[in-house]
């Protein structure tokens, strides 16, 4: 079996619960403030790696079927986010995060 190496570098930044602390800390040290601290795990420009539409927009399926309102976002424990529609189709196939291959565990669902 030949295996493809993980290419990575797809611009995923993982900032978890600690970001608020970090932010608070850095408020006292503005010299060290940098753009990285501005990134968060629910930035609006995140793209769903499954349907390749931004997670803040409705997924490809819901757009095509005119069900924009029902389309919500799901975040995994790994902090990767997808459309809930897209992810629920994929977990039937393989219960792993398509991006980091970790076992998929829902952290939260919302808009």
């Amino acid at each position: 079996m030949a295996e493809l190496r993980e290419t990575g570098g797809d611009g995923v930044v993982e900032v978890g619960a600690k970001s608020t602390e970090q932010k608070a800390e850095k408020m006292f040290n503005l010299k060290k403030w940098n753009a990285v601290a501005m990134w968060s795990w629910d930035v609006e420009c995140d793209t769903c790696a499954i349907c390749r539409v931004q997670v803040m927009d409705a997924c490809l399926r819901c757009q095509a079927e005119n069900k924009q309102e029902d389309c919500v976002v799901v975040w995994g424990e790994c902090n990767h986010s997808f459309h809930n529609c897209c992810m629920s189709l994929w977990v039937k196939q393989n219960n792993r995060c398509p991006l980091c291959q970790q076992e998929w565990m829902v952290q939260r669902i919302g808009k």
Partner: protein, 184 residues
């Protein structure tokens, strides 16, 4: 080149009973929408040794890939792969067959290919993922002639054993196959 906007329009008009009908009467193929985007990106990001060819520009789900390895055992050969993208893409991976007869540990003589990325079900996380694209598969296939070449977990066991038993003989047989089957 494919005129993609025209193609999408045609798809919307086409009646394909397999797709679920929606309110406004249009038929939805998620696969074709994904492919329209991917194919546009594809030509910009392929290895120099690879070329894709669409028989029918209205059918992006079926195409040929030509690999002309520049280095390695198979240099000098021209290898054709047929790629079929199932309706369930990208929940399911594309199906790939090697149409050129080849002596290779990871490609059977009937054209079956052993590349983890193409596996529908994998327990170890190396199989297909919807985050992957056609581009990744093409790079993966290209690497079967170079760094992904793997003699330790072969599909063509005879070819792998041949390599370990008699390296010169293996090379000679590869060359013979290239001469006989992989010249165009």
């Amino acid at each position: 080149m494919i005129t993609l906007s025209k193609k999408l329009k045609q798809d919307a008009e086409k009646k394909q009973p397999k797709y679920p009908a929606v309110d406004d009467g249009r038929r939805v193929s998620i696969r074709d929408k994904l492919l329209t985007k991917e194919v546009q990106e594809l030509e910009m990001d392929l290895p120099d040794s690879c070329k894709v060819h669409f028989e029918d520009v209205n059918k992006l789900s079926s195409f040929m890939l030509k690999i002309v390895p520049e280095d390695g055992y198979w240099a000098g050969g021209i290898f054709h792969f047929q790629i079929e993208v199932p309706e369930e893409y990208n929940m399911l991976p594309p199906k790939v067959k090697c149409k050129t007869k080849i002596w290779h540990p990871n490609i059977a003589e009937n054209g079956d290919i052993c590349l983890s990325l193409l596996r529908e079900h994998s327990l170890d996380g190396t199989g297909w993922s919807p985050a992957r694209k056609l581009k990744d598969i093409i790079w993966g296939l290209n690497s079967l002639f170079l760094d992904l070449l793997n003699f330790d977990d072969p599909l063509n066991i005879d070819a792998a054993e041949h390599f370990y038993r008699d390296r010169a003989g293996f090379k000679a047989k590869v060359n013979e196959y290239v001469r006989r089957f992989a010249q165009r």
